[in-house]
Symmetry: C2
Subunit: 173 residues, 2 copies
């Protein structure tokens, strides 16, 4: 495939989005890092987009796609990372493999889009009250999609390096 | 919550991404629409990003986040849609509910980000050969994430309107 084929959508193309809403949580960034998956949060849609939620109420779980805009300077650029959040779980840096950003759920990635599967507790007008959203307060939201059968596979395999870490850490790596 | 709180990330903020690669498929757009989930396709990363795939090989399934750039003019703007692809399955327009774009998997949405769960058949350098990617040839790819336990819930509920359609159509709505 020639690079010239890529036309207007090559590596230099730009894709521009506008947030549809924002994450609101009482939790501090540290609390979100440590136990965001156990906490309630609110996805607050901007008024212009609230109508787009109609029909979502009956789903128990949703995907929230967010823009991870709170990156530190060292998180912008690298294509390989170590799962450093495991350092807090007693792992040593040398035990953590250096893997490509597309192989891991790290905010360090060329397009920092967060994909979070959360429980939808209830809708209150333009607000979705959710459980388990691991995003900081103020994180822009780009899209919402209901969790459905076609986002599941029953038989799947995890990479060996990942399974090894998970078996030791006993949590999502 | 005051609107003023939203600061630089309000509804007027812009988020700019650059594609990391592109979808390549031999299938025509019509074939992709009709049976994209059964077809092999290639996700071809641009050279600058290929290193980011290291460590992904061991996962059997991945999420591909794409930019749905082939929208028709009438697909840009509406916040409510009918699942019109069911018209081809014998449904009448009046049988199709009008639902919010965030409650359904339609390319019509404010930020047209596609989220596709596909089987990773193999990696060939900067190319991922995948099964089940329902994207047209040339679709820009924004991100790739491995499918893991934290993207699953065992007990979940689908909205009644959706379950009703799915039960009749016998396919992903």
């Amino acid at each position: 495939m020639r690079k010239g084929d890529l036309g207007a959508h090559g590596a230099n193309a730009e894709v521009t989005f506008h947030p549809i809403g924002v994450v609101r949580t009482q939790a501090s960034n540290d609390e979100v890092r440590e136990r965001g998956r156990e906490l309630e949060a609110t996805v607050e849609l901007f008024p212009d987009f609230q109508e787009g939620l109609d029909g979502l109420e009956g789903f128990s779980h949703i995907f929230v796609l967010s823009f991870l805009d709170k990156l530190k300077p060292e998180q912008i650029g690298p294509l390989k990372v170590r799962p450093r959040r495991l350092l807090k779980k007693g792992f040593k840096l040398g035990e953590l493999p250096l893997v490509g950003v597309f192989a891991i759920d790290s905010p360090t990635r060329p397009n920092p889009i967060g994909l979070s599967l959360v429980r939808l507790l209830r809708r209150e007008g333009g607000k979705l009250i959710v459980l388990g959203l691991d995003c900081f307060d103020g994180t822009p939201v780009l899209d919402i999609k209901p969790y459905r059968d076609d986002y599941r596979v029953e038989e799947y395999k995890l990479a060996g390096w990942y399974r090894g870490l998970r078996d030791k850490a006993g949590l999502d790596v």
